[in-house]
Symmetry: C2
Subunit: 442 residues, 2 copies
């Protein structure tokens, strides 16, 4: 957490303890202002937290008259130990330099918790540019950045190469209806729904690749789970034996990433009331049939005719594994082939070579082996109504024609993971500036 050359004289909020009884320079935004018997108390917000400043001298109090939250100050003053101040220290005898004066009262109060109730979310997002200055709101995105950092670290250490693949593609690469289309110099382009085809191509180059980038879906639903732009992690790995190698990979990655983030960001996670982490290095693996059976035995609800897990079963099995097995991540295996996409590999007994990874009550990723055999892939594409010779697929199928090893991979939304880690209720709360059918701003 180095300062820049330009900041060599600036002390940050969490460094005050090093300067007790010394005169220092701090800078930040007025986050809160209280007047108590002629004394003005300022909470100054900088990028590491809050600094309490006690303004007694009339000349200095006068400088602050009429100035609102958000005003930018530089303050020179003396550091005193004060247990009641945020961080345990405060600044006395300040000399205040107003850098930017804010004279309008902000439209929302940023020093109090912002409401995340579902009927207040529009307000939350309408005033996002200001609301993010609330410390807990910002902390959501510190945790998100920590997740990104630890994911990249894990994958890089394990020999995965980061790639950037195009978001403007010819044709709807994966098929499916919910694509955004646009005019591309007279041709039709679509916005990539995922880097699926490109990451598989890249297995032939690097064996192991990952990408973190935006993905676009023209989601017509307005629910807590649907957004039209997400940040996706995509991972693909070659030279596997079967999909169990991919299960091992995502399990090991998530175990390391989450234990690291819970360790390094423990203070923030506590402030945000994030649920404690209950995880084992090996996640329990159940077949769908086993989950059906366990669920039915415990809830008396008949799910024997369901082809997939019901949402309530997903919640139930995570809760069961957490309480009974000490792990809130679970793999559901033995899923029906009906759920498969053309690029998945078929397994035995009409079951996909795939598992669903459930975490804290919902599926966060599907973890399949891909079909790498050229002729079989062509058949599966044709059955799915996908033309292997069309603009979006020609390069993809050529990678198989000229040899791709057995491989598999997964993808999941960074937004969704952040939401679940923090126990939020809506994926949009984990996105700085969310996009859905009703929202294109700010």
């Amino acid at each position: 957490m180095k300062n820049n050359k330009s900041e060599k004289n600036r002390v940050l909020s969490d460094q005050l303890n090093e300067f007790v009884d010394q005169t220092i320079l701090v800078a930040g935004f007025i986050h809160k202002k209280r007047i108590l018997g002629g004394i003005t108390f300022i909470n100054l917000r900088d990028r590491h937290g809050l600094i309490q400043i006690v303004v007694e001298e009339k000349k200095e109090v006068e400088k602050l008259r009429g100035l609102q939250i958000g005003t930018v100050l530089e303050v020179q003053g003396n550091v005193f130990k004060e247990d009641r101040a945020p961080g345990g220290y405060e600044i006395h005898q300040p000399q205040i330099n107003v850098i930017v004066a804010v004279e309008n009262e902000p439209p929302i109060e940023i020093d109090k918790p912002l409401s995340h109730k579902s009927d207040n979310l529009d307000t939350l997002f309408d005033y996002r540019a200001i609301g993010l200055r609330n410390i807990n709101e910002a902390n959501i995105f510190r945790v998100r950045a920590a997740l990104l950092r630890e994911i990249r670290h894990y994958l890089t250490v394990h020999d995965f190469i980061e790639i950037n693949t195009p978001k403007l593609v010819g044709g709807a690469a994966e098929g499916g209806a919910e694509v955004f289309k646009l005019d591309y110099f007279g041709k039709e382009a679509t916005l990539a729904q995922s880097p699926q085809l490109y990451k598989q191509i890249m297995v032939g180059v690097f064996e192991r690749v990952f990408e973190i980038g935006p993905a676009f879906r023209a989601e017509l639903s307005a629910t807590t789970r649907h957004v039209s732009e997400v940040t996706m992690l995509d991972v693909e790995m070659g030279f596997i034996k079967d999909h169990n190698d991919i299960l091992d990979l995502i399990q090991d990655m998530l175990y390391h990433v989450l234990t690291q983030v819970y360790d390094k960001e423990s203070k923030i996670l506590k402030q945000l009331n994030a649920p404690g982490l209950i995880l084992k290095p090996e996640f329990p693996r159940f077949t769908m049939a086993e989950i059906h059976q366990l669920y039915q035995k415990n809830t008396k609800i008949d799910v024997s005719r369901e082809l997939d897990l019901t949402p309530d079963e997903e919640r139930w099995i995570c809760d069961y594994a957490k309480k009974q097995l000490g792990c809130e991540a679970v793999f559901a295996t033995g899923l029906p082939q009906a759920k498969m996409k053309f690029y998945h590999m078929k397994g035995d007994n009409n079951q996909a070579r795939s598992a669903d990874l459930l975490f804290r009550g919902i599926e966060i990723s599907t973890v399949p082996q891909r079909e790498h055999r050229y002729e079989i892939l062509l058949e599966q594409m044709k059955s799915a109504g996908v033309d292997p010779e069309s603009i979006g697929f020609a390069a993809y199928v050529s990678a198989f024609k000229y040899g791709l090893p057995p491989h598999g991979g997964f993808g999941f939304g960074i937004d969704r993971l952040t939401e679940k880690v923090l126990g939020l209720n809506n994926v949009k709360e984990a996105i700085l500036f969310p996009r859905d059918i009703n929202r294109l701003a700010p």
Copy 2:
């Protein structure tokens, strides 16, 4: 560079030295196949390099009959020291297991250098999915990944928080004509040309932010510099004194990133014939007037009437600084305000509070201070014909209304940086799957 559990028996090409005279298992793609007097030599490509396999036994030679480049093999055999083999070791007495048989000859030869001549680039990109299997081609993208890794590391250590901002925006956020438009549930959306407005908003939250993501420009030109989708690094920092703090930041960042990449990737850079790095921790800073003068004095070409640096001057001053001052990165300061955008801060004497960073002959970034004063910003927006109350700008101006400190930042293309580091001729050579006016696939 850990192996996975699934790979516990697989030895990679750069680990053979640990297993001399032992029997091991390797796996990879046939990269080259030669038959010499009844002996078949295979170069097997894995993610770390090549393994030479000497196939003498008739039964094993027979397994390879008709198999082409790209065929995926698992090979068990004995490791021998052999100075003429790539890496210095080779495999004898192999037992070959054909995992994926490729029977078609690839459309391009991947074991020979691929042509990057301008009239061969279409072929290069048409067969990109296969051509990237050429080791040097892939190495371009290993260097690119290393640049990304070191940039993120530098910024994270210096307290910058990674953000993800929307690529679907309402209205053309920065103004300008070259935007892609699309229908967004009945409204008009555009693809973000940069995260400019969002990163400035986020200075009010984190003081220091960065983003690496795609940016889109409907470039009508088909040149070596124009692509319609780039991967941009964007950085923004608050609480600065003036634009010189941003110059210090980009200078320090690039110095550290480039020295780290040149150190850690020296082998690859050598293989790619990348130019050696000639850099000092402090980049020379010249005013535009000084450059005009120096250039004119040395070349006898009159540029006194130019408002900006000419392309030849950019090349010349980088070359001059490299030879005379031992640094191939240069700042050009004292640029005319005429080049400014509405969000830049005006300086004295009609000069922008900004510099251009030149590296190896071209401008790679503009490095300005922003206008942070609300009233002046509104004026500059109006002068530029930008409506502060429109959908793309309302949140942006609110961030200023409620207080933003003096700040500045920069952005540059990761593609462009990779191109210049490797001494390529065309930015598209540094993009996996480039996009331009004529290209939307693969």
